[in-house]
Amino acid sequence: MKIAVCVSHVPDTATKIKIANSGKDIDPSGVTFIINPYDEYAVEEALKQKEALGGEVTVFSVGGDANKESIRKALAMGADKGVLIKSENELDSIGIAKALAVEIKNEGCELVFCGKQSVDYDDSIVGQLLSALLGYNCVSTVVGLKIEGNKITAEREIEGGREVIETQIPVVITTQKGLNEPRYASLKGIMGAKKKTIEEKSSANVESSTEVIKMRKPAPKQPGRIVGNDVSAVPELVKLLREEAKVI
C-alpha cells in the first residue's frame, strides 16, 4: 500500500503572536516552528498501517525550505521519503489541498493521513478538501481506525460522543488526539532521516480562493475584579454573576 501523510510546519503553541509589518501575517522572527501537533498522530498512524499492511510512507508538505525540518521529523519517526511542494504565494486551505492533490495523485497513494487541523489557521478542512479533489472517501477527526482489506471502520469525534463510519479505500483520514501515541524518533531514526530523499516540486499553478485583508490581535481584555480570597467571597461572586453579568 502506498501511504501518504501530510504535515505542516507551524509556530509552537507556546508562541506569543506578533503581527508582521505587512499587517497580514505574523512576524516569524524569534518564533520556534514545529511539526503541527495533530500531524504527529497522522505520521504515527501511517507508520502503524505500513507495519500492518506493508508498503511505503511518503511525507508531503506545502511551503518553503523551512518545512523540510518537519518533513525530516516524520522521516526520523520512520517515513520513507519526503516531497516538499514549494509555493511562492501564501496559500489558503483550498490552495494547499490542490497542491497536495496533484503530487499525491502522481505518487499513487490511496491511503492518506492528515492532522485534523493545523494550529496556525485552524481551518480544519485541508484533509476533507483533498479527499474531494482526489475523489477519495473521507473520515475526519478520527480517534479510532481499523482497516481490513479495502474496508475502513473509523470512529470520529462528534459533539457529546462518537460516531462509527464505514467506508472504503481510497480514503483520506484526518487524525485527532487520542488516536494513538506518536513514537519518539530514535537516534538511529534521526541519523537515517538525513540520508532519505526530499524531492522538491512546485505548485506554480495553484491559487487561493480567499485573500487576507488584515491580521490583528484581539483587543486586550480589561483585567477584572478579585472578589475576595476565601469562602466569604462566594455570596458576592454569585450576586455579581446574577445581577451584574446576568449569566446565571
Binding site: I165, T210, P218, V247
Partner: protein, 322 residues
C-alpha cells in the same frame, strides 16, 4: 444583486440543532443586506422541527429526504447539497461550524467549485463584498478576509451569532425533494453517546478544572458545580495529558476553542494555549490560589483562594437560586 443564499442546516436524530438556527439567522441577515433570497436546506429522513426555521427569518425550507440519509454520510449529504445548490445557482452557502459542518462544507466546496471560510465570528457586507472575521492561532489573532471566488461557503462558529426566535413569523413553506439512491460510499453505522454529558463546544456555561484540582478523584467538585449550572465540564491540557480527563473535554489550542456565556476556571493557571482557547468567552470567573496566575488577567471576576473550599460553597450558594 447576489443570487440565492443557502443555509445548510444540520439535524441529529431528526431534530434541527441550535447552531443551525444561528447559521439560518446569519443567512437571512446576509440575504437582506445583499438583496436576495435565503433558502434553508436540510438533509435527512423524518425531521420533527422543520417548522421552526421560519422563526429565524427564512421562509422557504427544502428537505432533501431519503431513508438512507437519516444518519450522516459525507458522500450522500455532500452530493445532495451540491446538486440542490446547482439547481438554484446559490452564490453563498452557510453552515454551522460543528463536527458535521466542518466535515461536509469543505467537500461541498470542492464539488461546487466554491471558496470556503470556516469558523467565522463576524460577517459584514462592505461595498457588496462579504468580509469575514475569524480567529487564527486559536484566537491569539484575528484575520479579516474576503473571497476571490464567485461561489462562497461560510461556516459560523457556534454560540457567537444570535438566533432569537421570532414567534410571530408566518407559516413556513416546506418543500420535500426525495433523494433517489443516495451515494452511501461512507456512512455512519453507529453513534456512541456520552450519556447525559454536554459538549464544551456547544455549552452556554463551562466549568473547567486544571492541575490545581490535584487529582482525578477531586473532579467531582467541578462536576457538581457544572451539574447545578447545567454546564459542561472542561479541562486543561495538563490534566488531559496526565490522563485525569478525556481529550473531548480539553479546552485550548490543541483542544477545543470555546465561546460560552460563562467560563469558570478552577485551579487553572492559564497557560497561553489555554487562554487562547477560552478568552473569547463572554464572562470568565477564575478560582485559583495564586493571585499572580495569568488566568486572572483575562477573568472578569476572581477568587484568589483554595478551590477545595470555594467550589463546594459556590455550588451550595447557586443551589439557593435554582
Amino acid at each position: 444583486m447576489a443570487n440565492n443564499i443557502l443555509a445548510v442546516l444540520e439535524q441529529r436524530e431528526g431534530k434541527l440543532k441550535k447552531a443551525s438556527f444561528e447559521a439560518a439567522a446569519v443567512a437571512s441577515k446576509l440575504a437582506s443586506e445583499l438583496n436576495c433570497d435565503a433558502i434553508a436546506v436540510v438533509v435527512g429522513n423524518e425531521i420533527i422541527n422543520l417548522n421552526e426555521v421560519s422563526k429565524y427569518g427564512i421562509k422557504k425550507t427544502i428537505h432533501l429526504k431519503s431513508s438512507g440519509l437519516e444518519q450522516y454520510s459525507t458522500s450522500g449529504y455532500s452530493d445532495a447539497v451540491t446538486a440542490y445548490a446547482k439547481t438554484v445557482g446559490a452564490e453563498y452557502l452557510v453552515f454551522a461550524n460543528t463536527s458535521l459542518g466542518r466535515d461536509l462544507a469543505p467537500v461541498v466546496a470542492i464539488k461546487y467549485d466554491a471558496g470556503i471560510l470556516t469558523d467565522c465570528t463576524n460577517i459584514e457586507v462592505s461595498d457588496g463584498d462579504v468580509v469575514v472575521t475569524r480567529p487564527v492561532y486559536a484566537g491569539k489573532a484575528f484575520i479579516d478576509i474576503k473571497f476571490k471566488s464567485s461561489k462562497k461557503i461560510l461556516t459560523t462558529r457556534p454560540n457567537v451569532f444570535k438566533a432569537e426566535a421570532n414567534n410571530s413569523a408566518g407559516a413556513p413553506e416546506i418543500e420535500v425533494i426525495e433523494i433517489q439512491s443516495p451515494n452511501l460510499n461512507s456512512r455512519v453505522i453507529e453513534t456512541k453517546k456520552s450519556e447525559g454529558k454536554i459538549d464544551v463546544s456547544e455549552a452556554e456555561i463551562i466549568v473547567s478544572g486544571g492541575r490545581g484540582m490535584k487529582g482525578p478523584e477531586n473532579f467531582h467538585l467541578v462536576e457538581e458545580l457544572a451539574e447545578v449550572l447545567g454546564a459542561a465540564v472542561g479541562a486543561s491540557r495538563a490534566v488531559v495529558d496526565a490522563g485525569w480527563r478525556q481529550h473531548s473535554e480539553q479546552v485550548g489550542q490543541t483542544g477545543k476553542t470555546v465561546s460560552p456565556t460563562l467560563y469558570i476556571a478552577c485551579g487553572i493557571s492559564g497557560a497561553i494555549q489555554h487562554l487562547a482557547g477560552m478568552s473569547s468567552s463572554k464572562y470568565i470567573v477564575a478560582i485559583n490560589k495564586d493571585q499572580d496566575a495569568p488566568i486572572f488577567s483575562v477573568a472578569d471576576y476572581g477568587i484568589a483562594g483554595d478551590v477545595f473550599e470555594i467550589l463546594p460553597a459556590l455550588t451550595e450558594e447557586i443551589k439557593k437560586y435554582k
